[in-house]
């Protein structure tokens, strides 16, 4: 763990990613405390306010301070993306590992079905799920999580299969260990590393998928200060106040870039290759 962090610190992507995510994390923790305004306070005179010393990132169509909304919004946007990705990852990882462990026909059946579900574009699946359970941040998180399950199951399975073939699993089987011990204690800890990399990169996708769902009216709902929703709202008034787009789009991009960089850094740190 510490070793991994040390190695991560040596990759430029890892350092940059950690730095970006540190900023995002600080926004999540301290955002509401440092936000200059109430994120929901409407201000007739401040509608479409251009960036100024008072409103650093300008005001939106209801005169709300964009910076304050961004800072508050970090709390819902980022943890929800994390939550959705983690949820999808865990379910996918369990399915994938179990499928790899059982093997044979069970594996075949599970994987064919997973393949079939993967054939539904993630966004479409999310749209259908949100349509069913209703729009909203939590439901969107559920939808994103479900949309992530099949591909995570696939990835985990392929990793787990290679772990399954390793001799320490054979040794455990040979000494008569139970399936539970083997899956949980022998296989899972070794499946985790590549999954962590994949998950990290996926958080970036989750942030974007959330934003897209909000754009289609199915993600976070007004008056939430969700970044994706803010970007979607800003888009509608783009020609009156282009600057309202800068804040949320920038926040989304930085977060996504941060997770992408961290994921790449982790990949290098967990899988040290020769110096290239």
């Amino acid at each position: 763990m510490i070793e991994t962090f040390r190695r991560l610190g040596r990759t430029p992507q890892g350092v940059l990613g950690l730095l970006l995510l540190l900023i995002v994390g600080l926004a999540c923790l301290l955002g509401p405390m440092v936000a200059p305004f109430d994120p929901e306070m409407i201000d007739f005179m401040g509608r479409y306010a251009a960036p100024s010393t008072r409103h650093w990132l300008g005001g939106d169509q209801l005169g709300r301070d964009v910076l304050s909304r961004l800072l508050w919004g970090a709390r819902t946007t980022v943890p929800l993306a994390l939550l959705a990705t983690l949820g999808g990852t865990i379910v996918g990882a369990v399915i994938g590992t179990a499928s790899a462990f059982w093997g044979g026909r069970v594996d075949e059946a599970i994987m064919r079905t997973v393949d079939a579900v993967m054939a539904i574009p993630g966004l479409l699946l999310a749209l259908l799920i949100v349509g069913t359970v209703g729009a909203g941040s939590l439901n969107a998180a559920l939808a994103v999580a479900i949309a992530f399950v099949p591909s995570m199951a696939r990835i985990t399975r392929s990793v787990a299969l290679s772990v399954r073939r390793l001799d320490y699993v054979g040794a455990a089987l040979a000494r008569g260990e139970g399936a539970g011990w083997i899956v949980l204690a022998e296989m899972l800890p070794n499946v985790v590393a590549p999954i962590v990399v994949e998950t990290t990169i996926r958080v970036a996708f989750a942030v974007m998928l959330f934003a897209t769902l909000s754009f289609l009216g199915l993600g976070a709902q007004p008056p939430a200060a969700d970044w994706g929703l803010m970007a979607a709202e800003a888009r509608r008034t783009l020609h009156q106040a282009p600057w309202t787009m800068i804040g949320p789009a920038g926040a989304i991009a930085l977060t996504a870039i941060g997770f992408n960089l961290l994921g790449d850094g982790l990949r290098d740190a967990l899988n040290p290759r020769d110096e290239r």
């Binding site: 054939a119 574009p121 993630g122 966004l123 479409l124 259908l128 996708f205 783009l238 989304i252």
Partner: protein
């Protein structure tokens, strides 16, 4: 690649479509409201609702509805749209054609731009092109399409006036204009893919460059150009083919957004409209077509792979 393999894979495509249809149908059953509600809108009285539901067959048990739909599909009849009353099949074929045009152009762009970019970045590791491509790829995968699309639209259409903003022009109507209208949506939808693929190509190329057989080729005294063209490219492309096919799934999702922004009446718009209007036959068929496109793309990729990579033999 044996016939048996092909049949088996086609069987899997069918299985995929069956699973997709069951999932989509299942979800539509629990969706709040139905086509009758959305058709009648504020004018829905109890008797009007009942009349419309009878007309659309929505008053029958779910299993019966599904069976009717399925037996129709088997005979090539996808039913009629609950919203417009038009036959679903021909309407969706038109829509699919437009979407595939966008998708194909996007894939082409990816192959023409992202692949060479990735190769050059790998060959000149640490150089300006490598850093530029790296930066581009991070930005490319970090902004949702509706943002990049809007920004491109503002820049290239509204401010610079180089391109028409939105809309769809059929190739048959005015080919030149049609192409001009395609640029923005294709660019938008391919950005993420370009970022993804160029990164992938770069890392695959790097891997191949470090492989023993490339080292061996170099130690046999082969000139670098010959090594890259004759040995590296083909092997670096192999995994890319698979990933490209998997990305078709992502592309289909991206198309939903892009068609919304650029007013392209394709399959993505059909899906959105079908969901909001609870147009079950349309939704079912559109989802099915998307799934089939994905499944067939992957089948084609596997077939291409077996041609490109002699180690792969399907039986």
């Amino acid at each position: 690649m044996s016939l048996r393999w092909l049949l088996r894979r086609l069987g899997l495509v069918l299985y995929t479509m069956l699973v997709v249809s069951v999932i989509v149908f299942g979800i539509t059953q629990v969706l709040p409201a139905d086509a009758a509600t959305t058709l009648l809108g504020e004018n829905a009285t109890a008797e009007a609702l009942a009349a419309v539901r009878t007309r659309l067959g929505l008053d029958q048990p779910a299993a019966v509805q599904y069976w009717h739909w399925l037996s129709g599909v088997v005979t090539g009849d996808f039913g009629t749209s609950m919203r417009t009353g038009q036959p679903v099949g021909p309407v969706l074929m038109l829509a699919l054609g437009r979407s595939l045009l966008v998708a194909a152009c996007a894939l082409l762009l990816v192959v023409v731009l992202a692949v060479p970019l990735g190769v050059v970045a790998a060959l000149r590791r640490g150089g300006a092109i490598d850093l530029g491509a790296g930066l581009l790829s991070y930005v490319g995968v970090s902004l949702p399409e509706f943002v990049t699309g809007t920004l491109l639209l503002m820049l290239l259409a509204d401010w610079l006036g180089w391109l028409p903003a939105t809309g769809y022009v059929a190739l048959t109507d005015d080919p030149a204009d049609a192409v001009r209208h395609l640029v923005l949506p294709v660019l938008t939808v391919s950005l993420v893919l370009m970022a993804h693929i160029s990164r992938m190509v770069r890392s695959e190329t790097v891997d191949v460059l470090h492989s023993d057989y490339i080292r061996a080729a170099r130690l046999k005294g082969l000139p670098p150009g010959r090594i890259v063209v004759g040995h590296v490219l083909r092997n670096a492309m192999l995994p890319v083919v698979t990933v490209l096919a998997l990305d078709v799934g992502y592309l289909l999702g991206g198309i939903i957004v892009v068609e919304e922004i650029f007013a392209i009446p394709g399959i993505g718009r059909a899906v959105i409209t079908a969901i909001t209007s609870r147009d079950l036959p349309m939704l079912q068929a559109a989802a099915l077509i998307m799934a089939a496109t994905y499944a067939v793309a992957n089948l084609l990729a596997d077939m291409a792979l077996s041609v490109l990579d002699p180690r792969i033999r399907y039986d």
